[in-house]
Symmetry: C2
Subunit: 609 residues, 2 copies
């Protein structure tokens, strides 16, 4: 392909909102343009790389026996109502009404569509396991799209779904997907961090996210310095505190030396810091008590105080609203994802000041576990280890000291609800944990019966009995993967493509596209193309400096410069440079095609094996 | 690929609405399933063929230098407002509002998006000509989707757009596209009828449709028995009537022998047939006069009678509503597409009875050209040849006879507005015209300045002067092309795929997938796969008859049957059958892979050259 025919509108200036390298470089190198906020057009060069990522994903899916299908992008709303996600999905779901007033969604993900397809075709256990996938357009109505295609509104996702007669079969496909994902990212030249969502203390491995490190990542990752532990902070656990007490009895015994708890006046003391200064103590010695409001709670609340929740209108329905007191060591934060998961709640958030006052019968800032009978009390594991603590006393300007769990109060639930942070200890090996910011590129997940149950999928087992299949889902964002490759492979001058994803393998730069240089460039280009190598030939009438800068910006893995000097040598020479290296080296013009083809094949083989 | 792992849910029964062969066979052979009315899922086998059509289209676009890009499917409504199509497109445009209340459309076509992209990047004439395309999801909110993917709501279209500094350059790309389209359809094994929209008498060739014959086609085609003339009836012209008078003077002279026109009483005569019976004459001798209402008329109406149209509010804006009298020979029909095109009107339709009465000052059924001063009169060419005609007399139960154009009335316009029909004469060669029903698979079209003007696209020419580029657009429906291949290539037993589009090239059917037969089948499959041939191996535990029927239904071009008898011969034999032929022939097992590979390559070469 000649450069002048390839529509590569490179830019010196980039839009002000392009704050990350991939966004900047995709615009500068002419890979991408903006159509509207969060909507982008891939230009020819960008699309070439995009298609290569797609193809790698397709090959790896096919290799594990997943079958590609293509449902529509616009999906009947009925299916989403069946699964319940029409209501639960929130505003990021783009809903449409057509001329006949029928509801549709522009697919953000396709559990419903795939489940509906399989529901209609599945009859016998012999058809299982079955894994289907698509590589197709998705839409998520992000309220603040940004970072280019890293978080756009429309994007392409490979989403796969599988159905199984039993958990072992699901696990087998789940593991195969995990291996395929590792291969996909390796072939793209990406370093990913596979993050098990509930590894370690919580047991099992029903979900794994594939993250890349990124300063603008949406996710905080918790990693261990000593072992391979990696988790999303939303789900991360850590080793139990050494003071952990396994039961009320043990805690009582540990508190036997603690004086009885007593009231202390704390006038005008509002924050934990002020309290610590006032009492000359540390946050670790304080039991922080927060009041949470939860909605759509599915866990059993029958033992919670009567006034703390609204009864559901129907039996078995979720409780629409419930309040909880949550106690944790003063230096730690409550992890709301863990809390919501424990309560099986749709959402949890701090209660309003009015609710706090009403429910604790005390001003905001003085909640505490002792004597609190109006709310179910959930305590973090760390609180079990505190046998001489300071807490709010449920009255203005008053606190208690010498408080101990087991002796002075008990809990409705004892759970891991802390947000793990750098410096905590690994639950697997005890090593020190640290954090990184990460972006999720892929996610594999054991769904279980969520969709097959709500959408009534069944098959006949060996005994002719109707059974419900269990299900897994597996996604990869194609755009985000491509952008992440650029994030990982660039320098100040531009992109440094891995050969597997590069829009072209070789850029040929004749110093002047004229006379002998033109002839040599054309010949080399033809030979390389013949050998299956993808060539961009810079045929522009530009100064060499401009051409070199553009070659660096575009990031083509190999650059071949053809100049008069080299050609006039007894054995004509061309100059080769890898984009990833500083040094150039000379190659005989006549051997250049064969040698380059060989190097590129090696490069590709390295990535693909 | 083993049949049992390929998810091919074949059907005996098909949905009642599957009335055409491709719809029926795509369901029966497990290529397609319905998700909702007009929304379909391609299953693995269908998607393989679909991707092959896509790839053929892509290769042919690339071969003529068009560059693939990928805008989004969801497009900002703002761009459609700029072009004016937000309002003019009607209800088939799927409009969406997102959470921020911004307008979007789910793209039915992408003139706006492509023009916006080029507008931002185009600066110099050196960048032109430029041809860009996408192969992407489209949505058209059909009120009555039917015939499976032949007329679905969501579909995939290849749409290309080109920009040029002048008409010669546009014509060059337009011609190249036409050639590429012919190659695409040939490679798919399709017989298409290229239909020039305005060939022949009307001159030029700014639009060409690629049609396939189809009993359920949306289009009536007019074809010549003697030459290659082919046109959509909406635009078809025919040879002028032999009585055609070129001017009012010639007509006057021809009418010199005709008695003066006179009023005749025609009580209770309502239709042309009744009138012919009453006057003992033929419809050919009657001038039919119809009153039309046109909206958004852009042609110059300054010479039309004042009361016949509503003035536009702004100068240069289209006239919102105008009325016309249209006269044509009594045995012919007015072609409303031609009429709208002549008037540059958004739409034309017969005026309401009330408007007819108001404007002609006579009951409905008695309009005529003589004495009609309230409306601009447009006459078809045929009326110029009538010098002794019957017409309405603009009064109840009255007609005129002996009417002649030029002598008794003149016209505001003389144009070709007739609907051509079978039996008319070809405008190119005088041969007899006949009709066929057809479906449009592709369309190439010279757009001119419509979008570059409304959306303000410009570039600097050689002299640094700002100029507006001219534009072409070129579409092919991928789904419809695929379905049309099945329409053309099938029999009672199933599909007969051309090798280029077949989901697999060979189906291997061991009589029993066991023992020696299994070994031979596996070996042949491996050898063929090694040779680049796509193989489906029927590994199912089914009776041979079932397997043979399914092989016929799926339409794989070559079937190889492996049986005990053939294998036990001194030189083991397998039985080969082309799907397109009745006869089987035996091949040495050891030579089978090489021979089949050779035959398939020949078959592909035949289609591709």
């Amino acid at each position: 392909m000649n450069y002048s025919s390839a529509f590569i509108p490179t830019l010196r200036e980039v839009p002000a909102d392009a704050v990350i390298a991939s966004h900047r470089l995709m615009f500068r190198a002419g890979l991408l343009r903006k159509l509207a906020n969060g909507l982008f057009t891939y230009l020819p060069l960008g699309l070439r790389s995009f298609r290569k990522v797609e193809q790698i994903v397709r090959e790896e899916m096919d290799a594990i026996g997943a079958l590609e299908i293509k449902p529509t992008v616009v999906i009947p709303g009925e299916l989403w109502k069946e699964s319940g996600r029409w209501d639960s999905m929130g505003e990021s779901l783009l809903r449409v009404k057509n001329r006949l007033d029928n509801d549709f969604v522009v697919s953000p993900t396709a559990e419903e569509a795939f489940t509906a397809i399989v529901r209609d075709e599945l009859s016998s256990y012999r058809q299982l396991p079955l894994a289907l996938y698509q590589i197709n357009t998705k839409f998520r109505d992000e309220i603040r799209p940004r970072y280019g295609v890293m978080r756009g509104r429309e994007f392409v996702m490979k989403d796969a779904y599988s159905w199984h007669t039993n958990n072992d079969s699901l696990d087998e496909t789940y593991q195969a997907m995990g291996r395929a994902y590792r291969r996909i990212f390796k072939r793209c030249g990406l370093s990913v961090i596979p993050v098990k969502a509930d590894s370690g203390a919580m047991g099992g491995s029903g979900s794994e996210e594939f993250m890349v490190e990124s300063e603008i990542g949406d996710n905080t990752l918790i990693l261990c310095k000593a072992c391979s532990y990696a988790a999303n902070v939303e789900k991360a656990s850590c080793a139990l505190d050494s003071h952990f007490r396994p039961s009320v009895e043990v805690a009582k015994a540990a508190a036997s030396q603690t004086p009885p708890y007593e009231k202390i006046d704390t006038p005008n003391v509002k924050t934990i810091d002020e309290l610590c200064a006032f009492l000359k103590t540390e946050p670790q010695n304080f039991i922080k008590t927060l009041i949470y409001r939860a909605v759509n709670v599915e866990s059993d609340l029958s033992s919670a105080p009567a006034g703390s929740y609204t009864k559901a209108e129907q039996t078995k329905a979720a409780v629409p609203e419930a309040f909880f007191a949550v106690a944790i060591r003063g230096d730690l934060d409550v992890n709301e994802v863990k809390l919501a998961s424990i309560l099986k709640a749709g959402e949890v958030s701090l209660a309003s000041d009015a609710d706090v006052v009403r429910l604790t019968n005390a001003p905001v800032g003085f909640a505490g576990p002792v004597g609190l009978t109006s709310l179910p009390l959930i305590i973090d594991h760390t609180v079990t280890g505190m046998n001489d603590a300071v807490t709010g006393a449920l009255a203005k300007d008053l606190h208690y000291k010498h408080v101990a769990w087991g002796r002075d109060f008990e809990a409705w639930m004892v759970e891991d609800i802390r947000t793990v942070k750098a410096g905590d200890r690994c639950s697997l090996c005890g090593g020190e944990l640290y954090t990184k910011m990460g972006n999720e590129l892929g996610h594999i997940f054991k769904l279980g019966y969520k969709y097959t149950s709500s959408m009534n999928v069944s098959y006949l087992d060996e005994n002719g009995k109707s059974q419900m299949p269990t299900m897994g889902c597996y996604g990869i964002g194609v755009d985000r993967t491509l952008a992440s490759v650029i994030e990982e492979h660039h320098d100040e001058a531009g992109i440094i493509w891995p050969a597997s994803i590069a829009p072209y393998h070789v850029i040929i730069v004749p110093i002047k596209y004229d006379g002998e240089m033109k002839a040599a460039a054309d010949k080399l280009s033809a030979e390389l193309t013949q050998a299956g190598i993808e060539v961009l030939l810079d045929d522009r009438n530009e100064r060499p400096g401009v051409k070199f800068n553009d070659a660096d910006l575009l990031g083509i893995p190999f650059r071949v410069v053809i100049g008069d000097k080299g050609l006039s040598l007894p054995t004509p020479q061309v100059e080769v440079k890898r984009r990833s290296e500083k040094e150039t080296y000379n190659v005989d013009l006549n051997k250049a095609a064969a040698e380059l083809a060989e190097e590129i094949r090696e490069e590709l083989a390295k990535l693909n094996t």
